[in-house]
Amino acid sequence: MTTWSVIGAGVAGLAVATELIARGAEVRVFDPHGAPGPHGCSWWAGGMLAPWCEYENAEEPVLRLGQRAADWWARHTCVERKGTLVVANPRDLPDLKRFSRRTQAHTWLSADEIARTEPDLSGFPQALFFAEEAHLDPRQALACLAQGLRDAGVAILPERASEGLSNVIDCRGLAARDHLTDLRGVKGEMLVIRCPDVTLTRPVRLLHPRMPLYIVPRGGGVYMLGATMIESEDRGRITARSMLELLSAAYALNPAFGEAEILEIGVDLRPAFPDNLPRVRRRGGTIYANGLYRHGYLLAPAVAQAVADLALENKRTELVDEDHP
């Protein structure tokens, strides 16, 4: 039986390995960093499974393929299906109207309905509610996938895969640039804050002229605040401007966030292709799965399925853009 070598234990690699195992294949995973952790950009993700909201600024496959994500993840980790709320500052109401026009599967909530849905979110005359959307805790999700693989007897080997292996599935993210020259990094900055004074139970997005800022509850008064999108490959530290914008967004949602503790500051680069859609490529003995951009958790299941279809059944699905076996 063929043994598949998955390289990279981020969300893409772990989802691919999990999908291959579920279909009866034999797999091992290589990652010189070992278990998932802050070295990988999926560690810093928001974990929103929000295909309808994302479609506002993304291509159609994100909407369609992303709708399968919540069910896939629910088989492996805890998924909260509470929907998404989208609000705007009064001066940006034209943006909220535009957002509603560009998306589907939402309802308008009045101020009273907002208060019933999220009592700690006040001062917004109206909001869009995307009831079908979900979210998860990315770090828990990665741990669950890693545990599931261990339970199936698959080790994550803390080493580099040796040169010349065949049946390789390369899920290294931006590191795979050495072979994927059209891959670029898009900088993202995020914060984790703790604020027990505020209770939000579902992701809330605040529209902003340049980027969608959002807050995702992690439970226990902890919130993930994200995320900037900058066409830069500087993996350095967060800028003061980004920090101000992220914190202003939280403050706009509820001024009590002004008392929050800042637990973590995350900066990393999202791997992206020119159309910001993921790709599966077969070149010789290696299959590359990459370019998940800001949709790591939303599209990892679809990418994993596309890889398994190609690797095990020689079936080329829509995410496969090059196939030179």
Binding site: R101, R184, P209, P274, N276
Partner: protein, 256 residues
């Protein structure tokens, strides 16, 4: 045709490169519209010269590149950003933007004149983003600018030409200077109007990048700009209050 520091533009559409859903869509907007100039911001993407992949993509568009100092609030910031832009893109062109007001993003014309002088002395060819004020325009020319870029309306507002009278006056005041309406354009009709007034080019970004179909909007803008330019060159009629029939009615021969 008025030249921009000795360069004749291939066409009068200057298109921004920010806020597109993806670089692929940005590229498509340029390819389909044929826009001749790409403006690019260095301030935000620029930390440590790390925007290389994106900047390479802009260079690969094969159009003239006009780097800008978007997001700068002081002379010092703008000058540093301009110097970096010259290094990255190898062009003396710089769109000088100095923001004076957080809500309206109105240019700070006092700092603008000061920065324009410094940059011109350093050999830059400055495209100042200014208001429609004639005196400011004169000061910018005195500082060495050979192009003026008055706003149509606040950046990203899509309100069109808020003060058409002043833009017309500016055209009359500076007959030999290339003038560009920069900012505020939301619809092709706004862009066409600017060209009908005799402007030399239109610079826009949000109206295309944030449209549902950016590439199609870019094409619409280009057609409108070309229509406005052709109309201006064709010497349009003057509006009048009474009808002017296109066929004479008096003395017309008729058979009874």
């Amino acid at each position: 045709m008025r030249s921009f520091y000795g360069t004749n533009l291939p066409n009068p559409l200057m298109l921004g490169t920010a806020q597109y859903p993806s670089p692929a869509i940005l590229e498509d907007a340029f390819r389909r519209s044929g826009a001749g100039v790409a403006t690019v911001s260095l301030r935000r993407e620029g930390a440590g010269g790390a925007g290389q992949a994106f900047w390479q993509m802009i260079r690969d568009l094969g159009v003239l590149v006009l780097p800008n100092t978007a997001g700068c609030h002081t002379v010092k910031e703008a000058v540093t950003t301009a110097q970096m832009a010259r290094e990255v893109f190898g062009t003396p062109w710089i769109k000088l933007e100095l923001i004076g007001h957080t809500d309206s993003l109105q240019p700070d014309v006092f700092q603008l004149v000061e920065a324009a002088k410094i940059l011109t002395d350093e050999g830059f060819q400055v495209f100042p983003y200014t208001t429609e004020d004639l005196i400011v325009g004169e000061r910018l020319l005195a500082a060495g600018c050979e192009v003026l870029m008055p706003w149509g309306a606040p950046i990203g507002s899509g309100r069109g030409l808020a003060n058409e009278y002043a833009l017309r006056a500016m055209r009359a005041e500076f007959p030999d200077t290339p003038l560009v309406v920069d900012a505020g354009v939301g619809l092709p009709s706004h862009a066409a109007r600017a060209m009908e007034l005799g402007y030399d080019a239109v610079l826009l970004n949000t109206a295309v990048a944030r449209a549902g179909d950016p590439a199609q909007m870019a094409v619409a803008m280009m057609r409108a700009i070309e229509a406005g330019q052709m109309a201006h060159e064709a010497d349009p009629i003057e509006p009048r209050d009474m009808a002017a029939p296109s066929t004479p009615v008096i003395g017309k021969a008729f058979l009874s």
